[in-house]
Symmetry: C2
Subunit: 277 residues, 2 copies
């Protein structure tokens, strides 16, 4: 197998430019780094375009190389220098996939029957956005919507922080917040804005029904015009002296609270009646 050692070779340059959003949007492709993300990408049909791997990574992950071969995905051997250039990380993990966009239309992500959604409005830090995506996946959310004022879900740091979850659940991107809110409400979900300005806390609102959580900017939260889009503004209770929670931890508390209550409710509907505990 030929090894790419020159960062100026056309194929390496074509992949390298996907670190920039304008080129991602033009090629409708992005980069996913590391064994976990690459494994998830290969598990989906027609997502992985090509794979770059260092010699060390090839010998360490024979399963991934086999999956690529089975799917007919070309594998390019890359030198450490080329990999560093492509991943823009200090300690690259030796595996990088060029992937086709995986997002779905808003109407497909949010529809009747959808029970739990995270709506990201003005979330600007890619690490935070990726962490919320991972947490929404863990909490069993049906979809995550990156509205147009939020970071690009295909940003390298976001893909990395999502730890594979970008490939797990429907992600919509590019809709305006108002459009996402309208679609969400039309699909029968209540919109709860997570914000310190809420009068009621998470423990005081009814979380049993289909719910979309609206999360705002890391630093300044949700502006009044976005709070107005919500059915209710809800705050995570602060029991100690902290001024607030950071975005990703607040999202985790909200999404898990919904997941817990929704599942209890489902059980109590589905199960035969039991004596009150």
């Amino acid at each position: 197998m030929a090894e790419f050692t020159n960062i100026r070779s056309p194929r390496v340059k074509a992949a390298r430019r996907l670190t920039k959003r304008a080129f991602r949007d033009r090629d409708r492709a992005f980069l996913a780094e590391g064994p976990q993300a690459v494994r998830e990408a290969l598990a989906l049909k027609d997502v992985t375009v090509e794979l770059f791997a260092t010699a060390e990574a090839e010998s360490r992950h024979p399963d991934i190389l086999a999956a690529a071969a089975a799917a007919g995905v070309p594998v390019h051997r890359a030198s450490g220098e080329v990999m560093t250039e492509l991943t823009q990380t200090v300690t690259p993990q030796g595996l990088l996939a060029v992937c086709r966009f995986v997002h779905v239309p808003l109407d497909e992500a949010v529809r009747e029957g959808t029970r739990l959604v995270a709506l990201l409005a003005h979330v600007r830090d890619p690490g935070n956005a990726g962490t919320v995506l991972r947490t929404a996946d863990a909490a069993g959310a049906d979809a995550v919507v990156f509205t147009d004022a939020s970071v690009d879900p295909y940003n390298g740091k976001c893909v990395r922080a999502s730890a594979g979850s970008l490939f797990h659940l429907p992600v919509a991107t590019g809709a305006a917040v108002a459009e996402a809110a309208r679609r969400t409400r039309e699909s029968g979900l209540r919109i709860l804005a997570a914000d310190g300005a809420g009068t009621r806390t998470l423990d005081e609102v009814d979380l049993a029904g289909p719910t979309a959580w609206l999360f705002g900017n890391e630093a300044w939260g949700l502006p009044p015009e976005l709070l107005d889009l919500a059915d209710e503004v809800v705050r995570v209770p602060i029991y100690g002296r902290a001024e607030s929670l950071n975005l990703a931890t607040a999202a985790a508390v909200c999404l898990y609270a919904s997941a817990r209550v929704q599942r209890q409710t489902l059980h109590s509907v589905e199960d035969p009646p039991t004596p009150a505990r």
Copy 2:
């Protein structure tokens, strides 16, 4: 007021070396950056040794300058270059306090009557550790213990991520995990290790009593010898397809679950009996 413009001036160098742990330990002092952290430091008696401020920060935060003057804390005007050197951040916030260590002995942080504690074992990323500290504060925890294999709570990134919480609740540092576990148990708390290896989930264990949550390393969790120190290993339920949660979000879900149940229990004990709902 004289302005420090030379990064080689002795006073700047003495502060600058506090970015290194060895010097922090020798001087028993650390750096706290930004208006929020500086305000919290000044609110405590005898914590702030001196303050560096840019001209812009001085005019933007007259309340902080007044608090420093009232407390007899010397304020040094610093150039932007000196501030960048001291804070090691790309966009320094213009305010930096040299603070005395604020941690307390383990026996003071954890004692009879303590109801909720976070024990950090092998947490190595300072941003994660600071976020857990902030979340523990928000959840109303009584203390946070940084065991000896965890990151230094006075690391600049940890202080920043704690968003002032380092100054809010008792923090202990330096004890071995086994010692912290013994003290915790002797103080009447159950130790729950948060780990994907748990057989029961967060929703299945009784969280009403005094509880210490043991959190492990970001990448490899808790090794068997530390899991053995716990009364029970508990996992956060994963409802979707994510492999796991990241450390700070898992900690948020666990600490808030404890806070919620403990408060419900307290209320049901304190309030007059009400009909079952």
